[in-house]
Symmetry: C2
């Protein structure tokens, strides 16, 4: 199975104002995702990124893999949605083209999909 | 120079209701982009796609190339913004990492960037 990468924006401030001190919402989302994954080696890599340019609907993460569709997911609350984005990344990894079945995607992911982009060498659809 | 691909969503209905007959706004955007490019072989490929999942802010296009950042751009009016997205795609192609200088990007592209995703094998930023 091709491994999938979860890119997590660590500069996101999130939907609600954070305390002046303490980590940014994006950093907390990253930490929540890493806790969720634990020590399991299930073909998911997590990579922090400075800005996925989805600032209006942060926190943000993207799921990508060689030869597969890339998904950008927004509106992620570090306290509530780490499990959803990890579940979606596992479905993405399990699907040959990175296109999880719609009804199997977590509800929050369905509502908060910001964009998707086809894999390289994608054949045109007319 | 690595070629860049412009993925254009041809299922977008656009911001304004179209006539019941006639092509969808996304198809008109595709045609406008192809007219803009003309016969020039400048390292840009145009690929129609069914849905980039940016339906709330269509019309939509994405710019991608192997080893570079991918950008998703929205709010594209087929009658007004084909030149802007082509200019942005040329800047993307000209930049080693696909990161055009902010002030050189067309104003509409700066306002309407929906998301960006790092290239494969991107090193983490902590």
């Amino acid at each position: 199975m091709t491994p999938s990468t979860l890119y997590v924006c660590v500069t996101c401030r999130g939907a609600t104002p954070a305390a002046a001190e303490g980590p940014r919402a994006g950093v907390r989302l990253l930490e929540a995702i890493e806790r969720q994954l634990g020590e399991a080696d299930d073909g998911l890599a997590v990579t922090p990124v400075e800005c996925l340019s989805n600032c209006q609907r942060g926190c943000s993460a993207a799921v990508a893999a060689a030869g597969k569709w890339t998904y950008v997911i927004g509106d992620l609350d570090p306290d509530r949605h780490a499990g959803d984005i990890v579940d979606f990344a596992r479905l993405h990894r399990a699907h040959e083209l990175g296109l999880p079945v719609w009804r199997e995607r977590p509800a929050h992911i369905r509502k908060s999909t910001i964009a998707r982009v086809p894999p390289m060498k994608f054949e045109e659809q007319r």
